[in-house]
Symmetry: C2
């Protein structure tokens, strides 16, 4: 009998999702969302409750909250990771999930997977002090993986299925609207 | 006497940083980093401890940990936001921080700032089921702000100083290395 899980992933759930989307491509359309509230200074908090997928609204099992702040050097109180650290976390998490899930689908067992992600940024861009890029210019991702050596070559391809990796590489349209909140709105 | 804080930001700290970098541009060079560990299935955790800035290594006041998982529909257990939700959180947090800090520098008081961020993604890309973009294609950011109406027009420009916003718009180089971890490494 085949194992019900590979790399800790319930393969029947993953395969059901894959097969359903293969049969009905529209099921692949998803929307993810966060609400954010400024808490004063450089401290703010995002709330994550629901998402659209499989042609319906879905709720997370519990409401998720994520805090962001800056360290004291950048005029904050360190109440959470800062926003660019949150971006690096998103990248590390997404590449790890992609690597492990694609390996599972091919029956490749991962015993251990850790990674280090580091990004270079020139704060003069953000501060408006120089006409340099405002975002990260270079990001380095290093994975350390315990698995059969025969599979090592393919693991990089699996990691690069990552949506966050591809969003950063290819960019995305971002539409920004700003409305005034009055006492009545 | 001028207020020591604007929008909750200690202006002496922010101004000292800005003036120091203006005088010595190399002080603007920073590196941020996370370490990530796979915890099984779609669950992993990033640890954030230190960063390079102001020409030295700096430690956060405490070690920060951030969990990522997938909801049950995507074969996870909802132990945290999923990686693409973490990306949207990074964007919301960064644009908020940029808006509030640049407003503070110009003496513009923000009373309230909330935002909604939503991104569209076709999961067929991640799953390798179709040759479509693997990342977000469109992200919508909507801010609701309580402030003097005279300032509303400038706030969008302030938000767009955000490093995460610009990393997603312009992209960044991402170098990926994968090493095998053996019993001895």
């Amino acid at each position: 009998m085949a194992s019900a899980t590979v790399n800790g992933i319930e393969m029947s759930v993953l395969n059901d999702t894959v097969n359903a989307i293969r049969k009905d491509p529209q099921l692949g359309e998803a929307q993810f969302r966060v609400s954010n509230r400024w808490l004063g200074g450089n401290h703010n908090c995002s709330t994550i409750e629901d998402y659209y997928g499989a042609r319906k609204e879905n709720h997370h099992k519990q409401t998720i909250q994520i805090h962001a702040d800056e360290p004291p050097l950048l005029a904050g109180h360190d109440a959470g990771a800062n926003p660019v650290e949150h971006l690096l976390n998103a990248l590390a998490a997404c590449m790890t999930t992609s690597l492990v899930a694609h390996a599972a689908q091919r029956g490749i067992t991962i015993e251990e997977c850790t990674s280090e992600v580091e990004g270079d940024i020139d704060l003069r861009g953000f501060l408006g002090l120089a006409d340099v890029p405002r975002g990260f210019t270079n990001i380095r991702v290093t994975f350390y993986i315990k698995t059969d050596e025969a599979h090592m070559q393919r693991l990089r391809d699996f990691a690069e299925y990552s949506p966050v990796f591809n969003t950063i590489l290819d960019g995305a349209e971002i539409n920004v609207d700003i409305f005034q909140r009055t006492a009545n709105s």
